[in-house]
């Protein structure tokens, strides 16, 4: 009789783009590299969900906890872990994620959420065209495919693409290609002055770019896990 009074518990699907951080040995060097990046690109990690991928770093519970603490001290809050054993985690560490979904069995009904996501059955375009400059403070984020910018990308602006990035103008800001884990993604621009180039998690900052490539039309791709840059003319 009184059961109608209790409100039902509500769930909602939520997807977002997280930055996957992949620490490597030796950890102190890796942290120093991270500090250098954060210094050159202040705010890079600010208010961004971060996932820590431990698959390249042998670890136990204590070293993992220390690393999460080291990142926290740098203003980086780890939202979830990948590449580690559920068994070694305690309630004080973030949960293990895989492929963006929790690995554990979920018992909330997910059918409705799925149904909504591709409800009208239309295919999403695999590329996004932006035909004006991307200004400082703006962020273009297109996880589904390539991004083409007809215009320049300003210092302090960023373009994040699941696929490749094409800039028909000067690239001064940050370009993050292959954000969903695509090592084949590339970055092309008519004039390279970028603050940061990132492909599938590997990055190069401005002062790691050969001086003779600056100001040139270039392409950047991933060669054995490292970013290679070559002039296009």
């Amino acid at each position: 009789m009184t059961s109608a009074a209790r409100p039902s518990i509500r769930f909602r699907g939520h997807s977002l783009i997280a930055l996957v951080v992949v620490p490597e040995e030796p950890v102190p060097d890796w942290l120093a590299h991270l500090d250098a990046l954060a210094q050159r690109s202040p705010g890079f990690f600010a208010s961004r969900p971060v996932i820590l991928d431990m698959s390249h770093l042998p670890h136990d519970k204590d070293s993992l906890r220390a690393l999460v603490g080291d990142l926290f001290a740098r203003g980086i809050r780890v939202m979830g872990l990948e590449g580690t054993e559920e068994a070694i985690l305690g309630p004080d560490l973030p949960p293990v994620l895989s492929g963006g979904n929790p690995t554990g069995q979920l018992d909330i009904p997910t059918d409705r959420i799925k149904g909504q996501a591709n409800g009208n059955g239309t295919r999403r375009p695999a590329s996004l065209l932006v035909d004006k400059p991307v200004r400082s403070g703006q962020s273009i984020c297109f996880p589904d495919g390539d991004v083409t910018i007809v215009g320049s990308v300003s210092s302090g602006a960023e373009v994040i693409a699941g696929g490749s990035i094409h800039v028909y103008g000067t690239l001064r800001g940050r370009a993050v290609a292959g954000s969903g884990g695509d090592p084949k993604a590339r970055i092309y621009c008519r004039k390279l002055e970028a603050e940061l180039l990132m492909i599938d998690g590997s990055f190069r900052t401005d002062d790691e770019v050969q001086p003779d490539l600056r100001g040139r039309p270039v392409q950047a791709w991933l060669d054995n896990g490292a970013i290679a840059i070559a002039s296009l003319d």
Partner: protein, 271 residues
């Protein structure tokens, strides 16, 4: 058709208020009816630059809140009668400005004037957002240095997304005004080159205002530089910029104080 123009920059102290006063006066000197509005609530100084600080009775917030009629708050300039000022409040909180109220006042001013010029405060917060909100045209004031250019770039992005015009999908007219330009420092590489500033911001150039003591002198006596020293280099640059705003084609030069000196230098080099 009245035009609502916002003078904005992002970065503080680059010359917005100086520009509002000088362009407003220049347009009024050319026969247009002009009102300049100070949106810098709490840090008002457009009234000082116009020498009207002792004539402010009611201000923008009084009108927004319905405590005074627009006609009571408008202060007519004593030198150019087609120039009016709507002052900011020095004592009130800027939260007293509502978007709806500002929109209503701007609509009312459109009926009365050819130009409604809004002097934006620095920053990208509420005050500057409201100053640009109802504009048709923007003058983006930039000094030739990296931080000013970056802030202007940010502001241009906001002009293209957060104004009423942009939200309706209409074009927002934007002009770049480079101020405090010092040719000697540019030559020594201490300031960004004009062509680089233009390349980065990629909006059309309205004018280049040289760094000059005349600007300080004019604001100290409470008079726009175009009225106080109309033949000075910054005044000529502002007068030309005002003509360009009205659609006239005026060759782009950077007026200098020591014209003969510069010319003879050029000749000597050519000889």
């Amino acid at each position: 058709m009245a035009k609502v123009l916002v003078v904005t920059s992002g970065k503080g102290g680059v010359g917005k208020t100086t520009t509002t006063a000088a362009l407003g006066a220049a347009l009024a000197q050319g026969g247009q009816s002009v009102v300049v509005i100070d949106f810098d609530v709490g840090l008002r100084n457009l009234d000082l630059v116009l020498g009207a600080e002792r004539r402010v009775v009611y201000d923008l917030i009084n009108v927004v809140q319905g405590e005074a009629k627009l006609s009571q708050a408008l202060i007519r300039d004593k030198r150019v009668e087609t120039l009016s000022l709507l002052a900011a409040s020095q004592t009130r909180d800027k939260d007293a400005l509502s978007e709806e109220g500002v929109g209503r006042i701007i609509a009312e001013l459109r009926e009365k004037f050819d130009w409604v010029i809004c002097d934006s405060p620095a920053g990208i917060e509420r005050g500057s957002a409201l100053a640009m909100r109802f504009a048709d045209v923007a003058v983006v004031v930039t000094n030739p240095e990296v931080s000013s250019v970056r802030d202007s770039d940010r502001i241009i992005g906001l002009l293209d997304s957060k104004t009423e015009r942009a939200e309706k999908g209409e074009r927002m007219e934007k002009h770049l005004l480079i101020t405090r330009f010092d040719p000697a420092r540019e030559m020594r590489g201490e300031m960004l080159k004009t062509e680089d500033v233009l390349e980065i911001l990629s909006i059309p150039l309205l004018g280049i205002i040289p760094e000059s003591e005349e600007v300080l002198r004019a604001s100290n006596v409470g008079s726009p530089v175009t009225l106080n020293a109309p033949l000075s280099a910054p005044a000529r640059a502002y007068l030309d910029a005002a003509k360009r705003l009205r659609g006239e084609v005026v060759a782009m030069t950077v007026p200098t104080e020591r014209r003969a000196g510069l010319l003879s230098k050029l000749f000597r080099r050519a000889a």
